[in-house]
Symmetry: C2
């Protein structure tokens, strides 16, 4: 048997998995367009000129184009009123060529995000954040129309890497509405024994050390050390944190919530940052849009 | 120090706590009626003549009367159609004297329960089971209009017994829509580190043994043994299971999901069955109805 220091975790290549999924989506989009003469449409709404939001939005629009999904681009100025954004959402709700609506967050301070998001038709809520969707996700015997993209991407990475979930101990670190909470609900639906640890948890490391599956979504750079990980555990690192790095031209580099270098010596498999969960989020957005379009076109 | 065998857990007297809460409610109802000339109204709908349902319903109606809540009694025959039940629910939704609607489950097989429950106005969903309510319960920064009665009763018993929740390890046994899942979400909102174990969990006892707080809601008579409980833990036993008992005239007695006799030697505090969580469920139903009435009358 190899000594612990020789161990090297399998790297889960999120970029490659996401590309496979995008190819699958492109093929399905092609079939849909042949069958119905229509392609799925995703409205991507951005308000203002935040650099980070613009780069996310342009990435999403490019991804749409690549798989043949029609991107409906809505660019609103920083000063737009809440009523105007809501009005635009209603217009998109009524547009039969739009099967998914994504409002890039954060919105400018004078606009109530919750108010705007609640106006998105549940049939087009491809982000899956509507409380009615989350409620159905939480409840046994109910099925949400859409699963939130990042949590869905985490589960997809596990299943495409051959990691069994049923009966396993899963620990989710962080309880955000966007990742921690919904991924916990998904793991529970998949019959894992789920524990959620967060900023108020005492002694998180001892809980994490029990986990067969770790989902790290705390937003804390490299908080999970190698010694916190059970040998052979599957580690999905959702964190994307910028830390100073003078050796880079930009002056920073991205790291996850897990100390990747240490974790590789212990974990069974692990996602890198970047190139792990990140690419999956966009792929799942495309998948949700495709599913929304199929539901509409096939009914 | 006393030896372990001398230890005797504090018994959490749910009946007494529920009575205190009912007295508080009665006082508030009195104030409301003085201020607005109106009392809260709870519609209790029963379909058919199941003996158990009838006994639950009559208990709820009696409890209403005791605190001054007007019980609107709707008794429908077994053969009623789904459409007729839905029509009745719509009528109650529109009735300004009704602040809460409770449909006693189970409904006869020819009626879709989910369909009927979804028709109850979210403002009158005193059971708190609407997926929109559950979604808001799950999400940070959102507040449901009503909390499901039994989970709310569990948290109330802990807080009125002086059991701190924040930062504690809580293990919920069972993941039903009615108890296990929503009580997990409530414990998470109260900043516990929450683990949910269920029928697919491997080695549930080792997980339960870590818990500072145990919520037993599996529906398995005495499955949780004394040796599964960490010394000093708080134990809330939601189970109500009938087991054969020849010494009783009825031929059975009710026991919880916890082996009460063994648990008393280890736990810090524990609810008995019956007389623990049961009375709290009805008290919380009355509280929800009062809160619904206050929201309407005060707005």
């Amino acid at each position: 048997m190899a000594s612990p220091s020789d161990h090297k975790a399998t790297i889960i290549d999120g970029k490659a998995v996401a590309q496979t999924i995008r190819n699958e989506i492109a093929a399905e989009v092609h079939l849909l367009s042949q069958k119905y003469g229509k392609v799925p449409g995703l409205a991507v709404v951005i308000v203002g000129n935040r650099k980070d939001s613009q780069s996310y939005v342009s990435m999403k629009r490019k991804a749409c184009a690549e798989v043949g999904i029609k991107s409906v681009d809505i660019d609103l100025p920083e000063q737009v009123s809440e009523a105007e954004v809501v009005c635009k959402v209603h217009e998109l709700n009524a547009n039969p060529d739009v099967h998914g609506i994504l409002v890039q967050l954060p919105l400018p301070k004078h606009i109530n995000e919750e108010r705007v998001l609640t106006e998105i038709s549940i049939e087009k809520d491809v982000d899956g954040f509507h409380p009615l969707n989350i409620g159905k996700l939480a409840m046994k015997g109910r099925e949400p129309l859409f699963l939130p993209c990042t949590p869905k991407g985490c589960i997809e990475l596990l299943s495409r890497s051959g990691v069994a979930i049923k009966g396993k101990k899963a620990v989710v670190v962080g309880r955000s509405n966007i990742v921690g909470l919904p991924v916990s609900l998904l793991l529970l639906k998949a019959d894992a024994t789920v524990t959620i640890v967060h900023s108020h948890s005492h002694d998180p490391e001892s809980t994490i050390r029990e986990a067969d599956i770790i989902i790290a979504a705390a937003g804390q750079a490299m908080m999970i050390k190698g010694s916190w990980i059970k040998p052979g555990a599957a580690v999905i690192d959702v964190g994307t944190n910028a830390i100073d790095d003078k050796s880079k031209k930009s002056g920073y580099r991205l790291v996850g919530d897990v100390d990747f270098h240490e974790a590789c010596k212990v974990a069974g498999c692990i996602t890198p940052v970047p190139g792990g969960v990140g690419p999956m989020t966009v792929a799942m957005l495309l998948k949700n849009t495709l599913d929304g379009a199929k539901r509409t076109l096939e009914s």
